[in-house]
Symmetry: C2
Subunit: 366 residues, 2 copies
């Protein structure tokens, strides 16, 4: 059978290994997964309650107006419901953005190493990709590349803080950069981890209201998968001008998010205790990961997220990750990003201690 | 901001009214929703148990290999895991199919009145739509249209049984039709309601294995939203040749289905008692809807689904639906399909009795 030609250039996404699958494969009993930047404290208790109360309604289609969650987000961010679109993860909002702006005649711009899905989705549109030489976000390079291809570039991705590296630009520099970009170029601020960056350093904090009121070409992306502990439910959102949101709505399939996800997200936004505990644990435990790196002379970038990325010189990240797997610890090997590095999610004190003990042993041996 | 031109031709989907929203609007206490063909008995108890056991894991990303559910379906249908793709509702598999085959230079073929999403998704690809004059599936017309536009038509939709009308073609006629279609034309058998048709009449039963083993260009679609009572969780599947499934996989975003949906679907497949109760209630209650129609001289098509569609001559379906809403009963007005008709989901005996009492009163008055 013949398929549309653009499929020829697409490859299939290879999923990471599932905990249960790994456990079976390696015959280990306890698996510690520090690979996907999930919340190590599980699900907020208010969200669990909401889920338990609503499992009996799983037969009913979701309220496709999503008014309850939109109103809650609108209130939190002081924007209008019309400025918000809910996606099956913020991923899906990235997909809407890409399909609404990119095509085979234009291009997008991103950091040298950043969230892999930008490029994967954009490939579906046959759009050209410009990347900075720098793996982290270097705004001078962004500016130079944008100036050279101003007519061509229709989306600029800024991942703030950046996954999978962890660095984060200051808000003031971001705003200055935005001002230099044409109004017809969509600037996507991927703020999936911004709550972590904001907690650590207020200079990194990005307020959707300020962005979209001043800049009609900015899309702010948030997610419930990280701080809010709902990665399994696939729910995130985009905030932008009504014009942008209306365009995205044309690409949205009805009922794109489950009713349980909607209920859990509303409840999670109210669980301040859970968020506080997550953020405090994250950055106090982050110090231990920095100390560990220093002790073993491992390079790392200062992280504003819920993970830390270790870079290796002589040792091979693939070997190190494989050895960790044998001990039941899953981290993210960054070989597929062209880096000899691994990304480790900051876990609970217990999980991290297990990592330090096992990885210390492996690192000295390998 | 300028968006890709194809967006100009798209309109935004208008969602149906949510139960809670209607309740508030009309100030009615008890709402009976017979509008979306949801399972009136709620969620299978085995699925509820699976959900309750897994709410604590909602922070963890789904197993993106979906091996557990795929294996279960593979076993049920005697096909291979590689013949299966899981979607956020079978809707999403329709989307994959359309994007992989349709473009602005080709066309698709469907019944005069059928599931609205085929046309909505296909519009995104700028593809031409051929419809039969007959509102229900008329295979002679399908054949004639296909013969006249053989080179152009790349997808044929057969909704078996048909939503929103309820009629269903016999398997033998379907197979004969398939044999006359070129191998490069994808035939989509939308079997969302086929369990209902099969229960009523074994001549309507379509077995995915038989279809895909004999015909490499057939895609079978199933859903957990109807018989299996999981409409709110957004989960369905497609079964086809490995070649077709591989093409669709290129368009699938990772983690396109939530972990709770995957767990609930596996459990729902095991809940035979729930399925049996649903099917038996559906067709015994269907008789009452037929009796009611005869009593009031309302036309209907024999239904092989979990709904029945009433057609009106002088009375206006919009007025009738509005009057029912005031009584707290939501049914589906088919005006947007160009029909003076309403689609009513077969509910529980209690719900149906409420419908008969209220609608009887309204019908005589209006």
């Amino acid at each position: 059978m013949k398929f549309n030609e653009f499929l020829d250039n697409l490859s299939t996404y290879e999923p990471g290994k599932d905990i249960e699958v790994v456990a079976k494969e390696y015959g280990v009993k306890e698996i510690i997964k520090l690979a996907s930047n999930e919340n190590p404290f599980g699900v907020p208790s208010k969200a669990i309650k909401a889920l338990e109360e609503n499992v009996f309604k799983a037969n009913l289609y979701p309220d496709d107006s999503m008014v309850e969650l939109k109103s809650k987000l609108a209130q939190k961010y002081s924007v209008l419901n019309e400025n918000i679109i809910i996606g099956a993860g913020s991923d899906q909002v990235i997909e809407f953005a890409i399909h609404s702006k990119l095509n085979s005649k234009n291009a997008f711009l991103q950091a040298g190493v950043t969230f892999a899905m930008y490029e994967i989705y954009a490939k579906q549109c046959g759009s050209k990709c410009y990347k900075t030489q720098s793996i982290t976000h270097d705004l001078d390079e962004f500016k130079a590349l944008y100036e050279s291809h101003r007519d061509e570039i229709k989306i600029i991705f800024l991942c703030l803080p950046n996954n999978p590296l962890g660095e984060c630009l200051d808000k003031d520099l971001v705003l200055e950069f935005i001002r230099g970009v044409d109004k017809d170029c969509l600037i996507i601020i991927d703020a999936a981890y911004n709550e972590f960056a904001s907690f650590k350093d207020s200079k990194k904090h990005l307020e959707p209201k300020d962005l979209i009121k001043s800049y009609e070409n900015v899309l702010y992306l948030g997610t419930f998968s990280k701080l809010y502990g709902l990665g399994g439910l696939r729910i995130g959102y985009g905030i932008a001008s009504k014009e942008i949101i209306s365009a995205f709505y044309k690409l949205r399939a009805p009922f794109n998010v489950s009713n349980l996800a909607l209920k859990a997200a509303v409840a999670a936004l109210d669980d301040d205790e859970f968020s506080k505990k997550t953020l405090e644990n994250n950055f106090s435990q982050m110090e231990l990961f920095k100390d560990f790196a220093k002790k073993y002379d491992i390079k790392f970038i200062e992280s504003y997220t819920n993970f830390i990325t270790y870079f290796f010189d002589e040792k091979n990240s693939s070997v190190l990750c494989e050895e960790l797997l044998k001990k039941g610890i899953i981290v993210r090997n960054l070989k597929s990003y062209g880096l000899n590095a691994m990304r480790i999610t900051i876990g609970t004190p217990y999980q991290n201690e297990r990592f330090f003990v096992e990885f210390g042993g492996i690192y000295s041996m390998v």
